[in-house]
Subunit: 299 residues, 2 copies
């Protein structure tokens, strides 16, 4: 077994191509070029939430990047193995194009690397606010404060929507603030269009109904975003995916963020503008939260 | 020692934070987010070429990404250790923000991962055309055929110029063709401006002098590009960094590509347009090639 700090060794559970280990080949193209995809999945009662939605998105991404996809049965078996005894936490899946010789050109017959990694609950409250807050659901009830990031998203339709491993824009955006009171930062694209949060998708409540930015030029096709859109349509709400601006946000009646791990966070304030949480479509939000953080039943 | 296929184990020499190994921690942010930088350095006579230029660029990139930089002396000592007995090859340096807990936010005190990796000469001609061609310098003499890639570069001034680990655009572009006769693909940015090759920078010979695309919105600040610009200015040539289009290329008297491993490749043909190689500034090209592939003297 590879070396790892003791604190990590006891907390991490990881399978790399089915083998219990916590390292990968230095020649892996996931490291060299970010040539791969990932999923971050909420775990409740020892089961993943929205498992099939995540598998679907992984399959779509793999098709677009021409990555060979592991069988769903194998992924499920490995996830089961890792989740044994975990009540609350997260499961991360990474799928890379595997190791290759030097050069951008993908190998004609890639041997992909599949990584499943379970992050359990925090050992103490000090470790991370996020987990504690998820458990208490305080942010979901009281809403969050968000800021605008200076870092912008480059426009690239070929990569738009994918949850790929090229995430420097998000890293730079997230490094812009450290105040715990700010839960998320919103990002514009290179042309100034409002797209998403660093780790979440955005929804606005407007006089014309529920609106969310298009993700055809940049941004991630969040599984929580898709679920929320689906539930909103089922509920008969008017829903639009469109190009939005900061002005649309400021003029909106309300807004919320979605993410597979957090569920839904209403926005309480943004850049000096306070939002009246009572104007939000709470039945939709409650339903989305429940569905997003509901353990997979067929598991 | 970690497991690796026998064929790789005997060819690869690798140091991770000074330790001889060929794997990294699964939690490394280089893998998770491409949160890091790299350098690819030509090796001749057991010594790196343009070592100080590469160290300078690494330092600039590290400052922009706020990555702690290893000392030049340490990098040099480790490079020496790995290059022992290597005559011709390449040395790759990767510097990542190291392992961290889940989330885009950089750790306040990152423990960066530094990777040095030597790729020796090919074991046989079949392994890779590139090495054989570098050795014979045929492409440098006879020029190369290049194509236009459909994959475009997203515009992001914050990342522009950096040789960071987010390289999916280059991977997709390089996967567009497999004909050995095509040596490189040229890339436009999202707005249709001509920027670079998938792994090289571009220079045009025009009536107004030597021109190369600006790299303030996307593209990489190649060490070979900087060297070529410096040598051209020293030689009294008129040199411009500007926004270029495909039309500028088609109308140019000639064009060439630069890259730290290949040196200089004249473009013989592009999309049906043949270039007259005799119109190229051969004294500059020869001088750049010599300097780029000259082993560091103070080593």
């Amino acid at each position: 077994m590879p070396k790892a700090p003791a604190s990590r060794q006891c907390r991490l559970r990881c399978l790399v191509n089915g083998e219990l280990r916590s390292d990968i080949d230095i020649l892996d193209r996931g490291l060299a070029y970010g040539d791969g995809l990932f999923e971050t999945i909420a775990v409740r009662c020892g089961r993943p939430c929205c498992w099939l939605d995540h598998l679907d998105r992984l399959a779509l991404g793999a098709a677009r990047l021409r990555l060979p996809l592991p069988s769903p049965a194998r992924l499920q078996a490995e996830a089961r193995q890792l989740l044994e005894g975990i009540e609350v936490g997260s499961l991360k899946i990474m799928l890379t194009r595997g190791p290759s010789a030097r050069g951008y050109r993908p190998p004609p017959q890639p041997q992909p690397t599949r990584i499943l990694l379970v992050d359990g609950p925090p050992e103490d409250q000090g470790r991370g606010r996020d987990w504690a807050d998820i458990a208490a659901d305080r942010r979901a009830e009281q809403g969050v404060c968000v800021r605008l990031c200076d870092t912008r998203l480059g426009i690239n339709p070929q990569l738009a929507g994918l949850k790929h491993l090229n995430r420097l824009e998000q890293v730079l955006a997230r490094s812009e603030w450290s105040e715990p009171a700010i839960a998320e930062g919103l990002m514009l694209d290179a042309e100034g269009t409002l797209v998403c949060g660093t780790m979440s998708n955005l929804f606005l409540i407007t006089a014309e109904g529920l609106q969310t930015p298009m993700i055809d030029r940049c941004g991630v096709a969040g599984t929580a975003r898709s679920m929320t859109l689906r539930l909103a349509r089922e509920a008969g709400l008017r829903v639009q995916e469109r190009r939005l601006t900061l002005d649309d946000l400021v003029k909106a009646q309300g807004a919320f963020l979605t993410n597979a791990l957090i569920g839904v966070w209403p926005i309480r304030s943004f850049a000096g503008r306070d939002f009246e949480l009572s104007l939000l479509p709470w039945p939709l939000i409650e339903r989305a939260r429940t569905r997003l953080l509901q353990p997979e039943s067929l598991w």
